[in-house]
């Protein structure tokens, strides 16, 4: 195929007509500068600040703040919560996306709306819901007390709150993807004699794996960084019900700035790793979808 050469010969006079969607140089640079200034102020500056503040009193203080028992226990709890919330949401997200995109049933739109609910309400409200449900003076409170089960101000409540807040990530990522892919490949598999599980493992899942991974990364990032909902149900018991974000807050309120920023920097690093992973997955996903796009234009190449 010949390449189209778009550069014009140097001898011709500059054209007065620009591309229909093009803007004048002044407008372009103004817009770009505003965007860059905004980014610098709201994203880059805080990022730099976190690390400078964290290291303000030297590396020893920094490492000390991270290695401190309360910080370690907060990190452990954060990992524990994520390790429950993320797999639960993986199962929920994939099955919700599966039934929404591959079947029609009454109440489907309601389900789609409900999946978005955790995004729509403030995380603090999400936390409150669980306090109202399982707290001492709640519906289930007396029963739980009788059976000596602690949910609020304990790890189970924090897991619940985190799971609730992070529920939409994977489903939201998969629904459009699976809707776009349609049901033809699944139908083909079933006609060929595959059962439901075989179809899912061999046909559906490989087609959505990058979407699943993308959703997982975002879900995990939010699960580890969640503050509002967890804060309400945690009770802030040091070394017991403190996650990393809560620990940062406590340290900050105690004027232990360097330590607070040190712990925050761990979370920030986590965010940066998440971003890098996310970019990698997006890149893979785009590659997979280019394959898909080529599927739609089969006419260029001749049949043998």
């Amino acid at each position: 195929m010949a390449t189209l050469v778009l550069s014009r010969p140097a001898t011709t006079a500059p054209r007065t007509i620009t591309r229909a969607t093009g803007e004048s140089r002044a407008v372009r640079w103004t817009l770009i500068s505003i965007a860059l200034a905004f980014l610098a102020l709201t994203l880059v500056l805080p990022l730099v600040l976190v690390f400078t503040e964290a290291l303000a009193k030297g590396l020893t203080t920094y490492l000390g703040a991270i290695r401190e028992p309360d910080a370690l226990s907060a990190a452990k709890l954060t990992l524990l919560i994520a390790s429950v919330a993320v797999p639960v949401n993986l199962i929920f997200g994939v099955s919700a996306a599966w039934c929404i995109s591959k079947f029609t049933f009454p109440g489907k739109n309601l389900l789609i709306t409900l999946i978005d609910l955790p995004f729509a309400v403030s995380p603090v409200i999400s936390g409150m819901i669980f306090v109202l449900l399982f707290g001492a003076h709640s519906w289930f409170g007396p029963w739980l007390q009788d059976h000596d089960i602690k949910i609020i101000f304990a790890v189970p409540g924090m897991v619940l709150a985190t799971t609730f807040v992070t529920a939409p990530f994977i489903a939201r990522e998969l629904i459009p993807l699976m809707q776009e892919q349609g049901t033809e490949e699944e139908e083909a598999a079933i006609v060929l004699g595959a059962g439901g599980w075989q179809t899912f493992w061999r046909v559906t899942l490989p087609n959505i794996k990058w979407g699943v991974l993308y959703g997982l990364i975002l879900c995990n990032a939010r699960a580890m960084g969640e503050f509002g909902a967890v804060s309400v149900v945690s009770g802030h018991i040091r070394g017991v019900t403190n996650t990393l974000p809560l620990h940062v807050e406590i340290l900050y309120n105690e004027y232990a700035f360097a330590a607070s920023f040190a712990v925050a920097s761990v979370l920030t690093l986590l965010a940066l790793v998440t971003l890098a992973l996310k970019t990698l997955v997006e890149w893979q996903q785009r590659r997979a979808s280019t394959d898909l796009a080529e599927d739609d234009s089969p006419l260029e190449r001749t049949a043998a």
Partner: protein
């Protein structure tokens, strides 16, 4: 393996996709379901496959009731319009899929799978591309992979949904001939859906013409083309001119002219439509009898062995199309704006529904 469809009915909400459809496909035949979009042909195919349940009616495979048999037990091969190849698998794995998902007790060994798949890929002339991904193939190649994949499970019947729909004209023609030859080789009962009359007439043993959820006519390509039973079939197969007029005692009057319609000897001043194929039109410089209609040449497309003319009927102002052989055209020496007399040589008259 024969297919027998009895009194099938299917509705989607208020839309009647299939209205009491009965159809028999003898074993080993290649049958085309032909019709415009919305005629129910794809729905019929999907119901035969078991991908869609019917509201009423039964389906028998070789005399056995298969109506309530789930898709995966029906042993049909289905080729989807957009192929539906598994995009993350190689060509080889696509074809092997149907064998690999079998329960362990009836699953062929790895070596047997290899042999089966490779011989199928040789059959569709794609053995050299076994390791490619579907996205690396052309449309025609994907179509053949889809066919090989469907054939791998040794289906009782092969069902193809618009098998050439997404291909360009040239590849389409090649594949058409190729499908015909393949069918002669493997001889599995096959049904394919198409909206392209040329495709249906050229490839199939039998054509089933469908319209608005009903079967209009079914027969050999010659039968349906030469002896259409309904106005719809007449209009759908081949180019045709319509003359609206009145039928009276075996004659149809169209403007000033009159045509013979012996099968309507008993008709008393009834509204009717005369169908005349574009090549069943005789052109003459002078009127010849009562059936000559006066016309003016409006447009001439004179390339190839057949010359296509657009003619404005002087009486009634309708435009008709005439296809005449090159030599005839040369003798008449027609040009735009010239007066000419049209006499239909083969007319089929249908009463107009009142």
């Amino acid at each position: 393996m024969s297919i027998e469809v009895r009194n099938l009915r299917k509705t989607f909400g208020d839309f009647v996709a299939l209205d009491n459809v009965s159809l028999e496909v003898p074993g080993g035949e290649l049958v085309a379901l032909l019709g415009p979009s919305g005629s129910g042909k794809t729905t019929l195919l999907r119901i035969i496959a078991g991908l869609e349940p019917a509201d009423q009616g039964t389906i028998h495979f070789h005399g056995e009731d298969a109506t309530d048999q789930p898709v995966r037990e029906r042993q049909v091969g289905f080729v989807f319009q957009h192929y539906a190849l598994f995009r993350h698998m190689s060509v080889f794995e696509n074809v092997a899929f149907g064998l690999r998902v079998r329960p362990r007790s009836v699953r062929p060994s790895e070596a047997e799978i290899r042999d089966t798949v490779m011989s199928l890929l040789r059959l569709v002339q794609l053995d050299v591309l076994a390791k490619r991904r579907p996205s690396e193939l052309s449309g025609g190649q994907r179509q053949r992979v889809a066919l090989a994949r469907a054939l791998a499970v040794k289906p009782k019947v092969l069902l193809l949904d618009e098998p050439f729909g997404a291909l360009d004209a040239k590849v389409r023609k090649e594949l058409r001939r190729w499908l015909r030859r393949l069918h002669e080789e493997v001889h599995v009962t096959s049904v394919f859906v198409t909206h392209d009359q040329e495709e249906a007439l050229e490839v199939s043993d039998r054509v089933v013409v469908m319209n608005q959820g009903r079967i209009e006519q079914s027969g050999t390509p010659e039968e349906v083309y030469e002896h259409p039973k309904t106005p719809f079939v007449y209009g759908f197969l081949g180019d045709v001119n319509l003359f609206h007029g009145r039928i009276h005692q075996g004659r149809v009057s169209i403007g000033e002219g009159e045509l013979d319609a012996p099968e309507w000897a008993g008709a008393q001043d009834q509204a009717g439509v005369a169908y005349v194929r574009t090549y069943d039109v005789e052109l003459a410089p002078a009127p010849s009898g009562a059936s000559s209609l006066e016309a003016v040449v409006r447009h001439v497309r004179a390339f190839g062995p057949v010359v296509r003319l657009e003619l404005d009927l002087v009486d009634g102002g309708r435009t008709i199309e005439a296809h005449i052989p090159r030599d005839r055209f040369d003798r008449l020496d027609l040009t735009k704006g010239q007066r000419v007399y049209v006499s239909p040589t083969n007319v089929r008259v249908f009463a107009e529904p009142s």
